[in-house]
Amino acid sequence: MTSDARERLWDAATYVIAVVIAAFFLVPLLWLLSLSLRTRQEVYLGAARFIPKHPTLANFEQILSDPAFITYLWNGLKLSALGGIGCLLVAAPAAYAFSRFHFQSRSSLMMSILAFQMVSPLVILVPLYRYMSSLGLLDGHFGVTMVYIAVSLPMAVWLLKSSIDGIPKSLEEAAEIDGCSRFGIFWRITLPLVAPGLASAFILIMILNWSQFLVPFLLLSTDSKLPISVAIFTFAGTSNASSTQVLAAACLVAVVPAIVAFLLLQRMIVGALTAGAVKG
C-alpha cells in the first residue's frame, strides 16, 4: 500500500472517530431539546419519539410566561454581570502591576494568588456563612456579588496579566515622557489597548458566574432573589415524571445563554485560555 493510500485510509478513520465523538457530545443536548419539545404523552414514549410527532412549544411558553422564571433569569444575568465588572475593576490594576513593575516578590505573589484558585468555594463558605449572617449580608445580592468577585479574581488577574504582557510598552513610555501619571497611563492607554483581553475575560467570568451554584444556593434564601442555576435545581426537586418536559425546557433556557455567549466569542475565549494555560 502506498503511503498516500494509507493516509487516505487514516482520513476515513479520522472521520469515523470524529462522528462517534461528536455523537457523544451532541446526543445529551439533543435529547434535552427533544424532551422539551414533547407533549406529556410523548415523553412516555422515550427514544421511539426522538423526533416528536407532535412537537410543541407549550413547555417554553409555560416557563417563559411565568414571572418568577423571568426573575430567576434576570437575577442570574445581574449577578453574573456585576460579578464580572467588579472582578475586572479589582483585577486590572493588579494585573498591570504584575506585568509592568519589576519587584522582588512578583512571581511568588502571582503563585500565591493562583493558589487561592485551588481552594474550593465550599471551604471558604463554611466560615463565611456565619460572618455574613452576623453582618446581615445573607440573602442579599451584594454579599453574593462580593463572593463571586473573590472567587473569579485569581483567574482574572492571570488572564489580564498575560493580555497586558502582549501589548507593546512603547506607547506607555511615550506617555510617561509627556508627563502622564502612572495611573493616567494605565487608565487612558493600557486599558483601551487591552480592551479585547478585557472583553474575553469578562465573557469567560460571566459564563462561570452563570454556572455558579454553591454560593447563591447557600447565601440566598428568598425565592425572588435566586439566580437560574439554583432555581432549576429547586424546580428539579419538586418536579416529577409528568413534568419532565417542562424541566427539560427550563434546563435548555438556562443552558442556551452560556452556549450562545461562548459561540459568539469562541475565538477570543479559546485564545485567552490557551495563552494562559501552558506557555512552557
Binding site: A97, P127, S211, I259
Partner: protein, 313 residues
C-alpha cells in the same frame, strides 16, 4: 509680594502632593491593594477561621463554643470517613484518567484532521467545548434524563427497543459511580482537550520531519516525540483537573444527590451535608481542612512543575 509668596507656597504644596502621589503610584503594592483586600477578607481569613473552628465544638445552631479536639477525634473514629475518601478517590481517579485520555485523543484527532485539511474539525472542537460551558447543575439534570430508568430515560429506552435488559444507571451503587464519572467526563474533557491542543500546536514540526527521515512510523512518532514533548502539559493538566474534580459538587448533587445510599457521596458533598444539613460547623471545618490539605499537596506539586518564566525574561 505676598501674593507671589502664596503662589509659591501653593506651588510647593502641589509639588509635595504630586510627589506623594507619584510615590504611591510607583509602588506596586498600592496597585495590588484591592486584590489583597478581597482575597484577604474572602479567602485568607475564612481559611484561618476554618482551622480555628476545626478545634472547637461550633455548631450552626449556636450555643456556647469552646476549644476542643473532640470534633477531630469524632471524625477519625467515624467509619464513614474511609468510605467517603474511597468514593472520592474512585470518582476523581476515574474522571481524571477519563478526561485526559479522551482529551488527548480528541486533540490528536483534531490536529491530524487539520493537518490533512479535513472538514468539520473546528466544529468538533467547538462541540466538545460547548459541553464545558454547561452549568454543573444542568449537567447533572441532563444526564439524569439520559440515565433515568423511567420511560423517558434515553439510554434505557434505546436498550428496550433493542430488546436488551435495561441498566440500573442511577439506582445500583456500583453503576451509579460509573454514571457519575461518565457525566463528569462529558463536561470536563474540553479543558484537557484545549490544554493538550495548545501543547500539540507548540511542538516544533521539524522534530517530526527529522523522525520521518529516520523512518519512524506513526506510533513511534507519537511515543518518542509527542508524549515526551507533552509531558509538562500532561503533568500540569492532571493536577489542575484533579483539584477541579475534588471540588465538584453541583454536578453530583443534581445527578445522584450522593446516592444511592452513600455510593456517590464525595468529600465535598459530605462536607456540605455535615455543615448545612447536620449544622455541625466544627465537623465540617475538620473536613474542610482535609480538603485544603489535599489541594495544598497537589498545588505544591503544581508549583514545582510550573516553567520558570522569570528566568527567560
Amino acid at each position: 509680594m505676598t501674593m507671589t509668596g502664596a503662589a509659591v507656597a501653593g506651588g510647593r504644596g502641589e509639588i509635595a502632593r504630586t510627589s506623594l502621589r507619584r510615590r504611591i503610584e510607583s509602588h506596586p503594592f498600592s496597585w495590588l491593594l484591592p486584590v489583597a483586600l478581597l482575597l484577604g477578607v474572602f479567602y485568607l481569613y475564612p481559611i484561618i477561621d476554618v482551622f480555628r473552628l476545626a478545634f472547637t465544638n461550633a455548631s450552626l445552631r449556636g450555643g456556647e463554643e469552646h476549644y476542643t479536639v473532640d470534633s477531630i477525634r469524632a471524625l477519625i473514629a467515624n467509619p464513614i470517613l474511609l468510605d467517603i475518601l474511597w468514593t472520592t478517590f474512585v470518582f476523581t481517579a476515574g474522571s481524571v484518567i477519563g478526561q485526559q485520555l479522551f482529551g488527548l485523543g480528541i486533540a490528536v484527532l483534531v490536529m491530524r484532521g487539520e493537518r490533512r485539511r479535513l472538514y468539520g474539525m473546528t466544529a468538533l472542537r467547538t462541540l466538545v467545548l460547548v459541553a464545558w460551558v454547561i452549568p454543573g447543575i444542568a449537567n447533572g439534570l441532563i444526564w439524569q434524563m439520559l440515565f433515568s430508568e423511567a420511560p423517558f430515560g434515553a439510554i434505557n429506552s434505546v436498550l428496550r427497543m433493542m430488546h436488551v435488559q435495561p441498566v440500573a444507571w442511577l439506582s445500583d451503587p456500583n453503576i451509579a459511580m460509573v454514571s457519575s464519572i461518565i457525566s463528569n467526563v462529558w463536561r470536563g474533557t474540553a479543558f484537557s482537550m484545549i490544554v493538550f491542543y495548545a501543547a500539540l500546536k507548540a511542538i516544533d514540526t521539524t522534530l517530526y520531519e527529522a523522525a520521518s527521515v529516520d523512518g519512524a512510523n506513526g506510533w513511534q512518532r507519537f511515543r518518542f516525540i509527542t508524549l515526551p514533548q507533552m509531558r509538562p502539559a500532561i503533568l500540569v493538566n492532571s493536577i489542575l483537573i484533579t483539584i477541579a474534580t475534588l471540588n465538584t459538587f453541583d454536578a453530583i448533587i443534581s445527578l445522584t444527590g450522593g446516592g444511592p445510599g452513600r455510593a456517590t457521596e464525595v468529600l465535598s458533598l459530605y462536607t456540605f451535608n455535615t455543615v448545612f444539613r447536620n449544622l455541625d460547623l466544627a465537623g465540617g471545618s475538620v473536613l474542610s481542612v482535609l480538603m485544603l490539605v489535599i489541594s495544598l499537596v497537589l498545588a505544591v506539586g503544581y508549583a514545582s512543575m510550573m516553567p520558570r518564566r522569570e528566568a527567560n525574561e
